[in-house]
Amino acid sequence: MRRYSAFAIAREAFRHHLGWERAWASPAPKSRYDVIIVGAGGHGLATAYYLGKNHGITNVAVIEKGWLGGGNTGRNTTIIRSNYLQDPSAAIYEKSRSLYENLSQDFNYNVMFSPRGVIMLAQTEHEVRGYKRTAHANALQGVTTEFISPDRVKDLCPIINIDGPRYPVLGGLWQARGGTARHDAVAWGYARACSAMGMDIIQQCEVTGITAQGGKVTGVQTTKGAIGCAKLGIVVAGHSGVLAEMAGFRLPIESVALQALVSEPIKPCMDVVVMANTVHGYMSQSDKGEMVIGGGADGYNNYTQRGSFHHIEETVRALIETFPMISRLKMLRQWGGIVDMTGDRSPIISPTPLGNCFINCGWGTGGFKAIPGSGWATAEMIAGGAPGPLAAAFGLERFREGRFIDESVAAGVAH
């Protein structure tokens, strides 16, 4: 793999840009791998990457039914933060956020990580108390956050109306080191690095069955034939239920649509991310100038990758109240992704009833920020055969044992 650098740009400028290599190979599947990862979204690719980088396991295939990064990873609004309430969440999301800081350097691919800061607005007394509590919890967890006044909110984001008619801004939870990154680049950067380690990323190849013998997976059936493996990782977000059914177990997961939309591009007007969880909407401005907008998930089981119009209406209505200046913006695009929701709104990184089969899912509406940390933890679990310290609390058994990692009450929305 040729490194990207300022020198490479200069070199290519002198030869009509004919020397750029493909970022990753498109090999035909081999008959067998040490590890197969199903799903080339951010989490699947990051798992493969850290299997190679941290554990020296490179005979790995990542199998993707569509194109890599075409699932939720390429559909999300890219908010990165780690100001969660519960200790296990703070640990994995903070690990992830800190990996994001050096990710571009780590795999020599610009993921455009922009630690521009994230404000979560407190617009009810309950939220004020909740976010103060989170700020205290974060202090104990070593995650830098602070509860800020309405004036400070206005300072950081002048386009906010802090005296809104229904829900005036009473303060905010501010994480200066949160921000955004380029979603496609995260998937592409991991894919390029995996390919460079000799891993096979096999796109346009759907896993249609899981073959097991004596309680262990022996391989998968795919639209490109049967492929054998010593270990299997299922990392398919909204399709986790479908894969679990193939493997013969059930998950505490329901798949629903979550939508986002972007406006026409405008001049820079907002250099932080703002989440307004009471009225249910959040917004940031992309480098292209579009306002990137998201809201809450739709309510019913859905695999269509589009959602219901009234949810967009609710989100936009909430945001116009918060940012009156956007009321005349035209919206350019709207889309949906199928998110995998657990009851406690925390993810699952876990062994499964099949001994050598592992699952990573349940990131729901908020897993983009977790991609590096989750890949790190999942690779550790697959390599070692059991969850390490980052993953331990996120096992499937927590539902049976009543050990929820309850982030659903901690944050009205979880992006």
């Binding site: 059930r250 505490p252 798949s255 859905n302 695999y303 539902f399």
Partner: protein
């Protein structure tokens, strides 16, 4: 927009008038049951990509619960029926089978 007919009041309601209530026909396990059964009842869901039997409430209408059979991929609605029904009605099952020969009630 998803449109369902409420079997309680007979009204045709748009989804903004309805509140979704998740998987239908779950077998309830109460106090004294095995941990695994209790876990299954409380948390584990079929979450199928295809035909789904589910609960809805006519929240901004008559306020009552009912059940629906719907495809989660095409959003086709096969029918709605009263909440007191303990398993999918034969009539609806036959209708789904006629349209989707590969499908079976699991």
């Amino acid at each position: 927009m998803l449109i369902l007919t409420c079997p309680n009041c007979g009204l045709t309601a748009e989804e903004s008038e309805l509140a979704p209530g998740g998987e239908a026909h779950l077998k309830r396990f109460g106090p004294g049951s095995e941990d695994a059964d209790f876990e299954g009842y409380l948390f584990q869901r079929a979450n199928p990509k295809g035909v789904h039997f589910e609960r809805w409430r006519h929240a901004y209408g008559c306020g009552k619960w009912f059940l629906a059979a719907r495809c989660t991929v095409t959003l086709e609605v096969f029918g709605t029926y009263p909440a007191q029904t303990t398993e999918p009605p034969t009539e609806i099952v036959n209708k789904i089978k006629a349209k989707r020969p590969d499908w079976s009630l699991s």
